[in-house]
């Protein structure tokens, strides 16, 4: 097996042996279970005349609640990715774990890419399995399925990969805790900058709107989150938002348009740049 895959396998093995996967599995089951119960309660709400809510209202409430739950889920995924990626390189440099491995015929680029692949596979798997379970639970409880479930899970998974890549890049130079904290703060700042951009769009203030654009370029996590929101919104809701004009865009938990293709292309380039910088930085690091 090539060294890059050996390192990837080792990263997955470590997460499994250190019970990270088990902890995430248990937490996910708990969250999915509770949210299924909560979503089921929506179907029991009655109108003032005692009749049940019509299906379109159940779908609307469910879609809005699902956006909030997914926001929390994507936050947990981003947080987990940042915290795990932060010490991915620096922790092993500081402990001396990498000394004997790097004395083998292993390129540093293989270590960086191998770790990214291993943790990236876990992030993608977690997004698919946990997100899929949540959507399944919501469907079971309310009969509602978001219009674009595959895109939703892809965007949420990609957001986790963004944080993983940022944490890994920082980890080639900074201590684990510093890298993790910076990645988390950057994620929050990017989200807030996205909200500012939305408000700017709503108020038709170009300067504020540019804050959102720049933040989406520097750290595309919020742009991907907007894509996830769009994938969860029923068409009727999107039409209603659009009818509001620019004011309809001034909402951090709503999206009137899917992410443009140019942005998605930039996300691919961003990943390449982040990984390239990580390799370059680690190759120059003295151990």
């Amino acid at each position: 097996m090539p060294p890059v895959l050996v390192i990837a396998r080792l990263t997955i093995q470590e997460s499994s042996r250190r019970r990270l996967l088990l902890a995430l599995l248990v937490l996910t089951l708990l969250v999915v279970g509770f949210s299924a119960w909560g979503f089921n309660k929506i179907t029991t709400i009655n109108q003032s005349d005692g009749t049940p809510l019509p299906p379109e209202q159940v779908a609307f409430i469910t879609s809005q609640l699902l956006i909030v739950v997914t926001f929390m889920f994507s936050g947990v995924l981003a947080l987990s990715a940042a915290v795990v990626a932060g010490p991915l390189i620096s922790g092993e440099v500081e402990s001396g774990l990498l000394l004997s491995m790097l004395a083998r015929p292993v390129r540093r680029s293989e270590v960086v890419i191998g770790k990214w692949l291993g943790l990236g596979a876990l992030v993608a798997l977690y997004a698919a399995v946990a997100g899929g379970a949540e959507l399944g639970a919501v469907y079971w409880a309310t009969g509602y399925m978001p219009p674009h479930p595959v895109q939703l899970l892809t965007y949420v998974g990609a957001e986790g990969l963004i944080l993983l890549s940022l944490g890994l890049l920082l980890s080639t130079r900074l201590s684990g805790i510093t890298a993790g904290v910076i990645a988390l703060v950057a994620w929050l700042v990017a989200w807030i900058a996205g909200v500012v951009g939305d408000i700017g769009a709503g108020l038709q203030n170009n300067a504020l709107e540019q804050v959102g654009v720049v933040s989406h370029l520097v750290l595309p996590s919020d742009g991907l989150w907007r894509g996830a929101i769009f994938a969860m919104e029923p068409d009727t809701f999107i039409a209603a938002l659009k009818a509001l004009g620019t004011a309809g865009r001034a909402n951090p938990f709503a999206a009137t348009d899917p992410p443009p293709l140019s942005f998605l292309a930039w996300v691919v380039v961003w990943f390449a740049i982040a990984l390239g910088l990580s390799v370059l930085s680690f190759r120059r690091r003295e151990i």
Binding site: M101, R104, P105, R108, R284
Partner: protein, 321 residues
């Protein structure tokens, strides 16, 4: 800072590189600075294949820096080096090298045999040989009964044994051992000496970083003494330990008398025991006569060969002056 080398061995041949082909380790003016601190100042040395080479020095002398430079973990500020005839950082050379770091740490969530299998895979060794390789090194380092235990349950000494085992996988041509007995008890230290002798007997070059001089003296063919990043002496044991030392147990001498006796050689003054290093055997009667003439009362005169420790301390003392 220069990018750390990961070469594939296609560098143009140079005369020094050609000469390096017959050696295990060769360096020319290898230098490393961290900011204003000089960690290694122009190290030039050659370690022939099959030789056990001791690299000695006090803490902070630059020993570990030298090993890390040789293994491509650090990039040199200046100078050149070759391992097994290949430039530093060459991946092909690393296939034939074993390394036990001073800071030995292995995946605590793997078992001992899994750690060794990981190193077999990275080395890389043919998969068909892993089982035998792992069994052999576990027996060699005395961990046969702990093969399937998690590294997290190991004592420091056992982890160092495991690291030594990893360094021995695949019968490397050159093994770097950086303070290999720092966590070991006397039995373990004896075992390591035997392992080093075994490596030497099959023609493996050993680069032994240590400040445990008695060990170095017992196993090394040649040594280099490094201090403040510079090699202050090097050669075979016979070259370095040419002088004899004489210990005299004496009372009744003043400090002025002792100062006068310094003409007989460097004096190590410990209460009643005066040790004269580098004193030729035929001057011993003259020394005793001088002590007696000063009014000193001599109880014992014990000539002995200079140990590496004597020589090491002497070299560092001279360096301080």
């Amino acid at each position: 800072m220069a990018e750390l080398a990961e070469k594939t061995g296609t560098a143009a041949a140079a005369p020094q590189e050609a000469a390096a082909g017959t050696t295990a380790v060769k360096t020319v003016e290898l230098t490393k600075r961290f900011g204003k601190t000089v960690a290694l100042a122009g190290l030039t040395m050659t370690v022939p294949r099959g030789e056990v080479f001791g690299f000695l020095g006090p803490n902070g002398a630059g020993k570990t820096t030298a090993v890390k430079l040789l293994l491509g973990l650090l990039s040199p500020t200046a100078g050149q080096g070759w391992l097994l005839g290949r430039p530093l950082g060459d991946l092909a050379a690393r296939r034939r090298i074993g390394y036990l770091p001073e800071l030995f740490r292995y995946q605590y969530w793997l078992s001992a045999s899994e750690v060794l299998a990981l190193h077999c895979e990275l080395a890389p060794l043919p998969r068909s040989s892993w089982k035998d390789e792992i069994r052999t090194v576990l027996e060699t380092v005395g961990l046969k009964d702990r093969a399937h235990d998690k590294v997290g349950t190991f004592s420091k000494g056992m982890q160092q044994r495991l690291g030594l085992g990893a360094a021995l996988l695949g019968e490397p041509e050159l093994v770097f051992l950086d303070e290999p007995t720092s966590a070991l008890d006397p039995i373990g230290r004896h075992d390591v000496r035997e392992i080093i002798r075994g490596l030497a007997s099959r023609g493996t070059a050993v680069f032994l970083n240590s400040h445990l001089l008695s060990e170095v003296e017992q196993v090394c063919d040649r040594v280099a003494v490094v201090d403040h990043g510079r090699v202050i002496a090097s050669g075979t044991m016979d070259d370095l330990l040419s002088g004899t030392a004489v210990r005299v147990r004496v009372t009744g001498l003043s400090q002025a008398d002792k100062n006068t006796l310094a003409e007989f050689g460097s004096i190590d003054d410990e209460d009643e025991n005066l040790t004269f290093t580098n004193l030729a055997a035929d001057r011993v009667p003259e020394l005793v006569s001088a002590i007696v003439s000063m009014g000193g009362r001599v109880y014992e005169v014990a000539p002995r060969h200079q140990t590496l420790e004597d020589r090491f301390l002497q070299l560092l003392e001279e360096e301080e002056k």
